[in-house]
């Protein structure tokens, strides 16, 4: 029972290898079987250990826990595990085409699932590094899966930038190992008060955080995200935006937990970083015309909001950030998968060329509308809950509140712009309705609605946090939302739809690879100066 994490990691990998070796179409069903087994195991594991998370730690080989590799779980990692299982179900159902699915695709996809479980559940820093590197290579291959010219470029760009970040992470691990003699995260957490003020540990913190900043697409190293999303298949974009990027934020939480005893004052720095990410993300999103690029830049800006939540000292706001991770995973993957269906039928990605989606495919439109309402924070949907928590927590500080308000307006504007695809007459027929795709979209939409309404019992049961101070059915909340929508509509009508410069300049702004390297090094230096020297 205690070894279930190992099964969770190994079963998808084994299934993927078997599928690859027997290049048989019927073997593809093995993927669904493996996924079902993983789901059952995850549920059993949670039921056995809930409330008793200290007992989940074990060391491979039974060696001394400062020498061997250990794995452990707690409420946060298990909730991420469930999110992973759910997202992978959705992606598998979406891409599963009876008898036509490429076995290479399923091989890489399932392998990535096993590796991602490893990132979530491991308790050892070097193990985390190995899994991060493996995940980077797998995601590169999935991005470049189409084998066309710009797929390669985006894939290699992603690989190089991410490998640079992961190598910086490795140097941080080396410095920690020198000082602590062990790389077991629990042991380091306990020993941290002894060494927390040493220069070498602070520098290690800077290096670890730089690696994580690259992986989480924070400002200014987020440029790989739009490149990757523009060329990847929609299912891969959904996976990347919904989950893999959140892996970086999960690591952020873990490393900060590890360094908790050292009491660095990282709150202000990462709040500013998060705010910058959010604003820059929304700005770029407003200038784009390509549907998937819009969604990609919105991922960047929502990650900024999550970082604003996670870098707060207030427990409630922190929890709002964590909750936003889950909510965003749901509605962003919903939007990407829906966008995939629309793009496949309309054969174009430009928002101003697609019209009449509502009449052509009503169900997909309804699910997309659910996603859009969630991301703009409408009451009754799950985006509202996390955004309200963050809003409620920072309402004391004027500038923080107005920043969040501006970001919300920007988000609303951009989705009003995108909602024009629904209007208009039916222009194309929608011949091949894949039931599994619709089922996947429907499940995620239900998830959004359920999490938006039954949030009090769910959060109480899973995390033990009381959210009863958030009320949905207050008139003020609805008014607030419609006010945001109205300002967004006016902003769109008068400014964005005219498309005057500087908007096209922002759209075509791109950073060359060498410039992004220089920016990465500049980020490390700025963090060093802030944390080490100040």
């Amino acid at each position: 029972m205690i070894f279930i994490p190992v099964y969770l990691v190994i079963i998808p990998i084994f299934a993927s290898l078997v599928i690859y070796i027997f290049k048989n179409k019927h073997m593809n069903y093995l993927a669904l079987l493996a996924q079902a087994v993983v789901t059952v195991l995850a549920i059993v594991y949670y039921q056995h250990f809930s409330g008793n998370f200290e007992a989940t730690m074990f060391v491979f080989g039974g060696w001394d826990d400062r020498i061997g590799i250990s794995m452990s779980n707690d409420a946060l990692s298990l909730s991420f595990v469930f999110l992973t299982v759910f997202t992978w179900w959705m992606v598998l159902l979406y891409t599963f085409d009876k008898g036509n699915t490429n076995h290479n695709f399923i091989f890489f996809l399932l392998f990535l699932e096993g590796v991602f479980f490893g990132i979530l559940m491991t308790n050892d820093l070097f193990n985390m590094f190995v899994f991060l590197e493996l995940a980077a290579i797998l995601v590169t291959i999935l991005i470049a899966f189409n084998k066309a010219g710009n797929s390669f470029r985006a894939g290699i760009y992603y690989l190089l930038v991410n490998t640079a970040g992961v190598l910086t992470f490795l140097i941080g691990i080396i410095l920690i190992y020198f000082t602590f003699g062990t790389i077991n995260i629990n042991v380091i957490t306990n020993l941290m008060p002894l060494y927390g003020d040493e220069l070498i540990i602070k520098f290690a913190y800077v290096l670890l955080m730089s690696g994580i900043a690259v992986k989480s697409a924070l400002f200014p190293v987020f440029t790989w995200l739009p490149h990757a999303h523009g060329v990847a298949q929609s299912a891969i974009s959904a996976l990347l935006s919904g989950l893999i990027v959140k892996g970086g934020l999960y690591l952020f939480i873990r490393i900060n937990q590890m360094y908790a005893a050292a009491n660095y004052d990282y709150y202000a720095f990462f709040f500013v970083l998060g705010a910058l990410t959010a604003i820059v993300g929304v700005m770029f999103a407003l200038s784009q015309k390509d549907m998937k690029q819009i969604l990609a830049y919105h991922t960047v800006s929502q990650i900024g909001i999550m970082m604003m939540g996670l870098s707060s000292q207030d427990v409630n706001v922190y929890y709002g950030g964590v909750l936003h991770i889950f909510n965003h995973a749901l509605f962003k993957s919903l939007l990407f998968l829906g966008a995939g269906v629309i793009i496949k039928v309309y054969r174009t990605k430009k928002v101003n060329e697609i019209r009449g989606v509502f009449k052509t495919m009503p169900w997909v439109s309804i699910f997309m509308i659910v996603g859009m309402l969630s991301i703009t924070g409408a009451p009754l949907f799950n985006g509202f809950i996390s955004k309200s928590i963050i809003k409620y927590g920072i309402q004391d500080s004027g500038i923080k509140y107005w920043t969040l308000f501006i970001i919300n307006i920007g988000t609303a504007t951009s989705f009003i712009k995108m909602s024009q695809i629904f209007f208009g007459p039916q222009s194309l027929s929608y011949p091949m309705q894949r039931k599994l795709q619709n089922f996947a979209l429907m499940s995620i939409a239900f998830g959004c609605i359920i999490l938006g309404n039954f949030y009090i019992p769910i959060n109480q049961g899973f995390f033990g946090i009381d959210l009863s101070y958030i009320h949905i059915f207050e008139f003020a909340k609805f008014f607030d939302y419609f006010l945001t929508l109205a300002i967004g509509y006016l902003f769109y009508y008068f400014i964005i739809s005219k498309d005057k410069p500087p908007i096209p300049n922002i759209r075509n702004f791109s950073i060359s690879f060498e410039a992004s390297n220089i920016i990465f090094i500049a980020l490390i230096v700025v963090m060093t100066i802030y944390f080490v020297l100040l």
Binding site: F3, V6, I10, I13, F14, L17, Y20, I21, F58, V59, F60, G61, G62, W63, D64, R66, I67, G68, I69, N104, F107, F108, F111, V115, G118, F126, N127, V130, F131, E133, L134, I137, L138, T140, I141, A144, F145, K147, F152, L175, Y177, F178, T179, F180, G181, T182, Y195, E198, L199, I200, F203, E514, I518, I521, I524, V525, T528, I529, V532, L533
Partner: protein, 232 residues
């Protein structure tokens, strides 16, 4: 790169270098040798391997090594996938091989090839006694096989078969590592019990080293063949 970019880059990197050197100054005081002392004291008895590096990556931290081997597997599969072309390669016989290997090199390679192969296998099998091991020996064996391409540049290699064998080997490694669940009650360690003699424990080490060595050699061979075949 323009001069201003050079200067900015140089300034940034020197700031990092200065901070790093400052941090390294009290390394002698801070250096925690818990890990090193433990391995020196207990490494030989617990794992049966005189080479402590092999002890670490084959026993204490086997989980890491599995996924390092996995990285190689994924890299090979990715390269194979990306370099496959849809147009039938038989039609594309228009590339003339302009370079012919000098005869001296061919003769020398024929002499050296069996030596390299033997040395590679020696490094693999003796990984637990002297520096070396599966990964290193596998790389040497791969280099030996690559020499064959210089001798005979028209070699036909069945990449599909090699990649399949490699995946079978990977699964075998995982299975072999998991046998310890039944004999010792925990995953991913030596399947001999803790109190077995050193010779018995080294059976596991040699076996695992051989499998890893084969895997690495096949992987590197595949990568090289994929590059050679690109566009043919």
């Amino acid at each position: 790169m323009s001069v201003s970019k050079n200067i900015i880059l140089f300034a940034l990197l020197s700031v990092l270098l200065i901070v790093f050197m400052l941090a390294m100054q009290d390394l002698d005081v801070l250096y925690n040798s818990y890990g090193r002392d433990y391995y020196l004291l207990y490494g030989l008895e617990e794992t049966g391997s005189r080479n402590l590096v092999s002890a670490i990556y084959l026993d204490y931290r086997l989980f890491d090594s599995l996924f390092e081997a996995g990285i190689l597997l994924i890299a090979v599969s990715g390269i194979i996938w990306i370099s496959k072309h849809d147009i039938e390669e038989k039609n594309a016989k228009f590339m003339i091989d302009k370079y012919k290997t000098p005869d001296l090199f061919v003769t020398f390679s024929r002499l050296v090839y069996p030596l390299m192969l033997t040395f590679g296998f020696y490094v693999i099998i003796n990984g637990h006694l002297s520096p070396g091991g599966g990964f290193q020996g596998g790389a040497i064996v791969a280099t030996a096989i690559l020499i064959l391409y210089y001798i005979d540049s028209e070699r036909e290699t069945n990449i599909g078969l090699i990649v399949t064998i490699e995946k079978y080997i990977f699964m075998t490694i995982i299975v072999l590592a998991s046998i310890s669940l039944f004999t010792r009650g925990t995953f991913f360690t030596n399947f001999m019990p803790l109190d077995a003699s050193l010779q018995m424990k080294s059976i596991y080490l040699v076996l695992l080293n051989l499998l890893i060595g084969f895997k690495v050699a096949l992987g590197l061979w595949t990568i090289f063949t994929a590059f050679l075949k690109e566009g043919r």
